[in-house]
Symmetry: C2
Subunit: 456 residues, 2 copies
Amino acid sequence: MSEATLEAIVALCKRRGFIFPASEIYGGFRNTYDYGHYGVLLKNNVKNEWWRSMLQERDDIVALDSAIIQNPRVWEASGHLAGFTDPLVQCLGDCKQRFREDDLREEQLGAEDAEGEIRCPVCGGELSEPRQFNLMFETFVGPVQDESNKAYLRPETAQGIFINFKNVLQFSRKKPPFGIAQIGKSFRNEITPGNFIFRTFEFEQMEMEFFVPPADAGEWHEYWMEERLRWYSELGIRPEKLRLRAHGADELSHYSSATSDVEYDFPMGWSELEGIANRGDFDLTQHAEFSGDKLEYVDSGSGDRYVPHVVEPAAGVDRAMLSFMIDAYDTEEVEGRQRTVLRLHPRLAPVKVAVLPLVNKDGQPEKAREIYETLRELMPVEFDTGGSIGKRYRRQDEIGTPWGVTVDHQTMDDDTVTLRDRDSLEQVRLPTADLTEELTRRLKEPWTSPKLGAAA
Amino acid sequence: MSEATLEAIVALCKRRGFIFPASEIYGGFRNTYDYGHYGVLLKNNVKNEWWRSMLQERDDIVALDSAIIQNPRVWEASGHLAGFTDPLVQCLGDCKQRFREDDLREEQLGAEDAEGEIRCPVCGGELSEPRQFNLMFETFVGPVQDESNKAYLRPETAQGIFINFKNVLQFSRKKPPFGIAQIGKSFRNEITPGNFIFRTFEFEQMEMEFFVPPADAGEWHEYWMEERLRWYSELGIRPEKLRLRAHGADELSHYSSATSDVEYDFPMGWSELEGIANRGDFDLTQHAEFSGDKLEYVDSGSGDRYVPHVVEPAAGVDRAMLSFMIDAYDTEEVEGRQRTVLRLHPRLAPVKVAVLPLVNKDGQPEKAREIYETLRELMPVEFDTGGSIGKRYRRQDEIGTPWGVTVDHQTMDDDTVTLRDRDSLEQVRLPTADLTEELTRRLKEPWTSPKLGAAA
């Protein structure tokens, strides 16, 4: 068993077509990435599992997909226009580069709010006074580029949910406690993006705003912390690599009375996977004030009216995907050869089964193709005839395919195949006719990471 | 049987929570929309069906998800920076409004390229000389807003595919003919968006670039026209509402030697659902020139090298969804009452089954809940206890739920339920134990629109 370095993951992602640097033929574009075939499949599976946990397994949450470019008043009300900023300093010496002041203070003085002089980390030059830099990307809608046509790319999907609170209340027949869930891209003009897909300009969020009676907010906050931790561990992340960390009073956002981060033990240290905030009534109150609309819940029976409080689990798709890959990454020696394997939860694996003829003759490819065509009605399957069987297994191991079906000489005699397990490497022989049932059964079984067992 | 007006669809979309105007509490934001619960489910089903046809049912296409903000050189090479423009005129009279010159010519003179004077359609004022207005949204990446940091929101997903051609060739082991498919948002600063979700600033595309040996491009173009037409009609659009229209020589884009649009007979007339273009080697050649990289296919056996030609079926998710809803929309009188029903293909329907207790007592809700919890493991199901049974059926009809399971007095005696069909209104009684199998069977059956049968 072994742990992944970020370099090993980046290399695997490129080698197997999960993730490529964006605009690579043009020298790339800062810290931006494109997702290749297996990256798309894995990311879709992560999103589907989130939808499953939010929609299919419960009935108090509805879905939403709001626009990226909204009326700019939304960002006035939310506080982003005034306050979604980083402090920026520029080198007054030779290099003229820009840096986040808080990062430099932490690097050079040991704490963000420490007093003392900081210098340019590149050329040692003096630094300018800090100025506040807004992280929202600006654009203009319509043909005239003036203030009245300025608009913003959303920095979070959450506000799209708050501004639809009234519509959902009216047309979905929900009442508190209920949630609105959304998956979509957000954009932040980060000065220092980095760590592969951990922090990028554009990224995908999975956010859910859960509206509750004010008195119950604390309890629901606890509930969602537990739920979200469970989600990651049920999908295979080892519990010792996950923790909840409550924000200190100095870290809390202006809207939040309590926030805990789900953190993962990334190669660069414990870092945020997801923030779970008690946002109180801040957002609904702000939007009510700025829009002049009443954003409250009125109980049709008792006539009671109140502004619900909001508990928000806000996760990043790309980060979640990165943590699943890192946690699943493993290398081991098998019969004198090194193999790399992604021990992904079968529900997350981009491909569930590879169907491989042992040799490319004697009717084996045709038989394998036939099995492949049956199975692909039910699940994502690959048919692979390229190269030696060992090379094909190594490839499937690296993309995390949990099972391999091999068609060999014996198959042509008795219509049985071998079924190989990615993790245990156990091979069992079974009739071709039983494959569908066996694979469907295995896909539904609870699963724990074999890395977990090994560490125990 | 009846046909939908756009107004009827807009009203249904709001009433049932499919689609809301974006930023509605702030008076909206031009022609921008947010998708509510059933809108998200329907849109996801449309996208899943596209992925199914591109990935699961064949093995010559791989997936990609490229960034929205790429290196600006991409748009230089593609020709968008210089040529992705609309001609814009401004009123020199009182109102100072801006219009697309080509639209005004067509409205006032009957043809886009007609000679003659056009006037402001609002105040009758004189118009300025036209100037070319680029439809790409601009933004700045990083803290400095100067030319060197200018970037663009992609106006199409296609270019993200071309710039990854080399990566995919190298890491996915495909060779021509093969395709790269992508679903994602694109942005166009349209001067005259409109017709509900038909034309909006931000919209979702489903584009596939199919790379072929140059000599085969014409044949593949024909192939993809047929395939894409088939996709729409297999998902329930009536064939008489679909047509292929070849672009005239004056309509062709600079990159295309032949394009045909799949058009749907929308309430506002025949309009483009999807363009199927033979792009030749234009894009790969341009990116090779601008990047200095070789973008060609080299046959490892024969050593032959060539720049593949590209056939592109480029569809809009939002438009496809709109056409599915319009085509499915129907009203009829049943037992003296008017009902509205969305006759969606079951695979597209947001909810497959509604489980309804006839009355809210005598153990019926508990029994219905039990059935609901079994079924939701397999498909999207709703459990609905609110209001009279007739009211609940009308609601499910309007969101297009193909089947209703009703738990009644008899259920409590003999454990049978009634299964109602949305279209025929036929009700059959069957044992609860047989429900899963019956519904799974019905979901897999080929399906044609009952509106088709009625028209014949």
